[in-house]
């Protein structure tokens, strides 16, 4: 079937893009040209189907054998053997376990910070109970509020410098006689308690409280 010169007008006619003159000329033509009319009918169905179902052309259809997808699949398949794929899967799973389960557990429950003996910090605190005011005599014991179970407390007593340091799991401590002997009435002292968790991390620090022992 030789090509009719009017054939090129088919799309323009159906998409309403022709000038009025071309449109009429083409209409007259297809009343006379059987070949053009057949093509026109066919093209009309094609265009209306496209206009009514654009998704057919824009969607990637899973069921169609898309050549690009097929090639990609084949390439991936040739890159990895089944064993390698399985290994990759197991590795990924292990990594996931490490990221989701192990790493968070390793994190300390409280911030890791270190203090020199002269420093105080804000934050989680220990309330000191006694002595917090001036004393008539050298105190025999020191007491503070309990923070919880399984906590180790470190008590430090200062005059101008560190006088005594001790650790206990109780929330009170009795001052040993040899420390008492070094404390002098009329002098000012201060004390502080630090709390450590089971793994040795500092979890709380009290403020430094000063007391004066009355002169005799």
């Amino acid at each position: 079937m030789s090509k009719c010169q009017f054939e090129d007008l088919i799309d323009g006619y159906l998409l309403n893009k022709l000038s009025e003159r071309d449109k009429e000329a083409f209409e007259e033509h297809y009343f006379n040209c059987h070949s053009c009319f057949q093509k026109l009918q066919e093209r009309d169905i094609i265009i209306r189907t496209i206009k009514s179902n654009p998704a057919l052309l824009t969607q990637e259809q899973a069921e169609t054998r898309s050549p690009i997808l097929e090639t990609l699949k084949r390439e991936v398949a040739s890159l990895f053997t089944v064993k390698q794929l399985a290994l990759a899967g197991v590795t990924a799973a292990l990594l996931l376990v490490v990221v989701l389960a192990i790493i968070p557990r390793q994190q300390a429950p409280a911030p890791n910070f270190f203090l020199s003996d002269e420093e105080t910090v804000r934050g989680s605190s220990i309330t000191l109970i006694s002595p917090v005011i001036d004393m008539n005599q050298i105190p025999t014991s020191f007491e503070w509020k309990k923070l919880g179970e399984n906590i180790e407390y470190q008590i430090s007593i200062f005059n101008h410098e560190l006088l005594w340091k001790a650790t206990t799991r109780e929330n009170r401590i009795t001052l040993p006689d040899e420390v008492k002997a070094r404390m002098i009435p009329g002098e000012k002292y201060s004390w502080q308690v630090k709390a450590f968790g089971p793994d040795g991390t500092l979890i709380a620090v009290s403020s430094k409280v000063q007391f004066k022992i009355a002169a005799q």
Partner: protein
């Protein structure tokens, strides 16, 4: 003699009815219920005029039928606008459902479209759905207009193959 005339009439109807129907539907929209009546009316007008000797062979028979069809369509629209002020605007691209044949063809086209390679689908989408010109499509795809025509024609060829199978 009457037998021959009957056969001629038959041939004429078989040949021109679909063309007239196409022209009428294009002008009025497939949803218009007057279409079938109008097509029948045009056909009988053609036969009448042929029998009364109005067709003298100055033009081709096709042009003669075309002229009658166009006039009747213009008349119809004029009648409608008298009553409704505006002629009903036909839906531009109705889903092919008007006849069983159109529906079947459309189903085949759908099947063919879904089997096309992505590059042909893209070209058809831009050219027929978005109505980009061949020139616009060429610059969009970074190819020559000749290449665009080739792509469109090849995609149509693939669809036609499905329609004929």
């Amino acid at each position: 003699m009457t037998d021959r005339l009957d056969r001629d009439i038959q041939d004429l109807v078989v040949r021109y009815r679909p063309i007239i129907a196409f022209r009428v539907r294009k002008a009025l929209g497939t949803q218009n219920t007057d279409c079938d009546d109008l097509v029948s009316e045009i056909l009988s007008q053609v036969l009448e005029k042929l029998q009364s000797g109005e067709f003298r062979g100055d033009s081709s028979l096709g042009t003669f039928v075309y002229t009658i069809t166009s006039r009747r369509i213009v008349d119809y629209i004029r009648e409608k606008t008298k009553v409704m002020k505006f002629a009903p605007e036909p839906e531009p691209f109705p889903d092919p459902q008007e006849t069983l044949e159109a529906k079947e063809m459309s189903d085949r086209v759908k099947k063919a479209l879904s089997r096309l390679k992505p590059k042909y689908r893209q070209v058809l989408y831009l050219y027929y759905y978005q109505e980009l010109s061949r020139e616009e499509l060429a610059s969009e795809l970074g190819v020559s207009t000749r290449k665009v025509s080739e792509l469109v024609n090849y995609a149509l060829k693939l669809i036609r193959k499905e329609l004929k199978s």
